[in-house]
Structure formats: structure tokens, C-alpha cells
């Protein structure tokens, strides 16, 4: 099981029946693979649909039904389509239960930077700023380090996505909950020690007496 799969399987456990969920492009999209089809979770794509599904077969694509990355998708019974204003009314208005996004940095205040590296990569924020400002729960799904450098740091050096504190950070090494007091190490991945997580993080981590072992969806 590779890093991304560990992360996606753990995030899947956070989603509850009835939730409206937005999965970011890339790693977060994998989360849907680890949910049973009868999980009762609705997925929104910010380009204007609730009820998206994986394309059952490449031959069954339609040009007018795509995900936020422009790839063809399918629709489940009960799917509904809408314009970009309503799509973000749902996101900003507190109707979205969970957003799962990638991250470049998360800091001790729980703030996220995930949309640009000045001078190097300026893709634009797309929907990320609205998603982080507006979703009821924000889950960051990212690798714990990038080329060996910590991504969980004291203070974000990259431009922030939002000043809002995210709710949970899931990496291949740990589950971390940002709180008013700081970053709480909730769980470590199977085979990973608390000391290893601390060593791979620049930010100070608050360690409960007994951190749990990270669950992983079947």
C-alpha cells in the first residue's frame, strides 16, 4: 500500500452517511475509491454537479459531463446540475459538509497554504479559497514531507489559502487535529512511532498520552 493509498483510506473513514463532500483533484479524488457504493455520501464537483460517479466505461463518456479537472465522469440516479454561482453558494453557504484538499503547508495555527509557490508555480486558487472558507469540515490530505522537507511547520511561508483553521490533517504517517491549543497528534500510522512523526514535522505537536493507531478503510 503506497503513501497515497494509506492517506485516502484513512480519510474515507471521516465521511458519514448523508454528507455532501467535495474532493479536490489528485490524491483527494482517490478517497471515493475506498467507500462502499451504499455509503450514502453525495459528491459535489465545483464545476456544477452533485451525484458524480466514476465513468463506468471510457466508451460511455459525454462531453458535457466532466469533473473539475475536465475529465469525463458519470452521474448517479438523483444527480443534479447547476451553474457556478449555485455551486459556490453550496460551498460558501455552509451546505458542504466536508472538503478534502491537498496541501503544501499546514502550520501550528492550523492554517493551510496550498495554491501557489511564488515565482515557481502559480496555478491559481480555483475553488480552494472558497472551499476552505466555507466547508463545515476541512480535511487536508497530503504527504507528511516533500522531498524530505517537513510540510507541517511552525508558520506557513507560502501564501495562505484561508485564515480559517482546518479541521484535520491526514498524512501517510499520522492524523493531526489542529486546535486552539495547537496541533494534536491523534493517531500514528501502523509501524510509525510518535518520535518518527515528531522528527518529520517542524511544527510542535501536542502528544496525548496514548495516540491511536491510524485506521484504514477496507
Amino acid at each position: 500500500m503506497n503513501e497515497k493509498e494509506i492517506i485516502a483510506r484513512r480519510v474515507a473513514l471521516e465521511l458519514k452517511r448523508g454528507d455532501l463532500v467535495n474532493l479536490g483533484i489528485g490524491l483527494p479524488t482517490m478517497v471515493a475509491n475506498y467507500l462502499p457504493s451504499d455509503a450514502g455520501i453525495s459528491f459535489q464537483s465545483e464545476n456544477g454537479i452533485i451525484g458524480m460517479s466514476a465513468l463506468p466505461d471510457p466508451g460511455l463518456a459525454g462531453a458535457d459531463l466532466t469533473d473539475a479537472g475536465g475529465s469525463p465522469i458519470g452521474a448517479l440516479p438523483g444527480a443534479c446540475a447547476f451553474d457556478s454561482a449555485l455551486s459556490f453558494a453550496l460551498i460558501r453557504g455552509g451546505h458542504l459538509d466536508v472538503t478534502v484538499l491537498g496541501g503544501l503547508q499546514v502550520d501550528e495555527e492550523g492554517q493551510l497554504a496550498n495554491w501557489m509557490v511564488p515565482g515557481k508555480m502559480v496555478p491559481g486558487m480555483g475553488g480552494a479559497m472558497d472551499l476552505v472558507s466555507g466547508a463545515k469540515r476541512v480535511i487536508v490530505a497530503m504527504t507528511h514531507t516533500a522531498k524530505g522537507a517537513p510540510k507541517i511547520i511552525k508558520k506557513c511561508t507560502l501564501p495562505l489559502t484561508s485564515v480559517r483553521r482546518v479541521d484535520l490533517v491526514v498524512t501517510e504517517m499520522a492524523v493531526i487535529q489542529p486546535t486552539e491549543e495547537g496541533l494534536v497528534l491523534l493517531e500514528t500510522a501502523p509501524g510509525v512511532t510518535v518520535d518518527q512523526v515528531i522528527a518529520a514535522s517542524e511544527a510542535k505537536l501536542l502528544i496525548p498520552k496514548v495516540p491511536g493507531v491510524m485506521g484504514i478503510a477496507a
Partner: protein
């Protein structure tokens, strides 16, 4: 007088240097014939307001490839390396706007609102230099309405009066942009007789649409 026009005649109305809103999201819902014709006629110095610039060779990406665009106002350009390259070389001005804010700014422009108050972007670079308003202890950015000279939109169906309906995720910014430009040019997949789209299925009222382009149109 019929609103139906050939693609060529419609694009001839677009001046060099026009401010265009173009519907679509990563190419889906971007009017394909109008884009190709803009390239064929070589309309230069365009300002393009759109969600993204898609990919090279796709949708708005074709305008970028052809070097027709002077400025882009968009939420995302990460999927188009050419846009980023031109931006870094200072050959293309790019104004990045959060996607939900872009949708509201376009809608406000078309709705006679001066703008909206949004929490999105407060405390980030997206809020720099912007007015803020405090309401009940929360800080909001004042995000100003935006308008365009011309909107190029695509639709699933038009009737001959200009009533439009859209298809699935190709809807995206199209109905918002139909509100917010002086001249609205629509490229539907089909044109049906007036009365054949039921009133509840119309998303964009005909009064907003000035020109309907059709492949075989004479004019």
C-alpha cells in the same frame, strides 16, 4: 428580425482589444465554433474573463496558443503551461480570482449590484488592497461587480427567440455571463422553434441573448 447569424459574421462584430467573457470550465461549455473563428480572424489584444484557460489546444487554450490574449481574469491557470509561461515572461497579464468570487462578481455585474461581501480571501493575497466591511463581528471583502463588452456562451438548446438551456456541467459560468455583457453571442448545439422549450426549462431568458450562431446560417 432573426437573431441567427453565421459564426463568421458574429465574430466580425468583435473588435480588437475587446473584453470578452467566455463560458466553460476546462473546455466543457466553451463555445467551440466561436473560439475557432476568433483564431481564424486573428482577433488580437483580447481580455478574457473565464474560469480557466483549459489546456493547450483545448477551448480557451486555443486563444492563448494563438497569442490573441493580452489579459486573463480567471480562477485557475494551472492546467495550461503556456498561460503560465507567458505570464512569467510578462507577455500576458493574469488576474487570479477565487472561483466562487469570480462567479459572484460576474453575477453582480449582470444584476446591477455594485458587488458582494464575501469571507473568501480575507487575510490572504486575494484580499490585498480591497475594501472590507465588518458586519456582526465578521470581516468581509468587498468584491466588485465585473462586466464585459461581449459574452461568448454555449448552450444545449436555443429557441429562435434566444431562450437557452444548458447541459450538465457545461452550464457552469454560461448563464452568469449571459447577464453581464453588452453583447451576448450564444452557440447552441441545436436551435428549436419558439415554444418548444417549456418555460420552466429555460435557464437564460431570450431577452439576454443578442446573437445565436449556427453553422449553416446565411448571414
Amino acid at each position: 428580425m432573426s437573431k441567427v447569424s453565421s459564426v463568421a459574421a458574429a465574430v466580425e462584430q468583435i473588435p480588437y482589444g475587446a473584453v470578452l467573457m467566455i463560458g466553460g470550465f476546462m473546455g466543457a461549455g466553451t463555445p467551440p465554433l466561436l473560439i475557432d473563428e476568433l483564431v481564424r480572424q486573428g482577433k488580437k489584444n483580447l481580455t478574457v474573463i473565464a474560469n480557466d484557460t483549459a489546456r493547450p489546444g483545448v477551448g480557451i487554450g486555443k486563444l492563448i496558443d494563438a497569442g490573441l490574449v493580452k489579459k486573463v481574469i480567471a480562477s485557475h491557470i494551472g492546467t495550461n503551461p503556456q498561460t503560465q509561461k507567458l505570464m512569467i515572461a510578462c507577455e500576458l497579464e493574469v488576474d487570479l480570482v477565487p472561483q466562487g468570487t469570480l462567479a459572484e462578481r460576474v453575477r453582480a455585474g449582470g444584476s446591477g449590484l455594485g458587488g458582494v461581501l464575501t469571507p473568501t480571501g480575507v487575510g490572504t493575497t486575494a484580499g490585498e488592497g480591497k475594501k472590507t466591511v465588518e458586519l456582526n463581528g465578521t470581516t468581509y471583502l468587498v468584491e466588485e461587480a465585473i462586466k464585459a463588452d461581449i459574452a461568448l456562451i454555449s448552450a444545449r438548446s436555443a429557441d429562435y427567440s434566444g431562450n437557452l438551456r444548458y447541459s450538465l456541467t457545461s452550464r457552469n459560468f454560461n448563464p452568469l455571463m449571459a447577464l453581464a455583457a453588452e453583447l451576448v453571442i450564444a452557440e447552441p448545439n441545436e436551435i428549436v422553434p419558439i415554444g418548444c422549450i417549456e418555460p420552466d426549462a429555460v435557464v437564460t431568458p431570450h431577452v439576454l441573448v443578442d446573437v445565436i450562431v449556427a453553422k449553416g446560417a446565411e448571414k
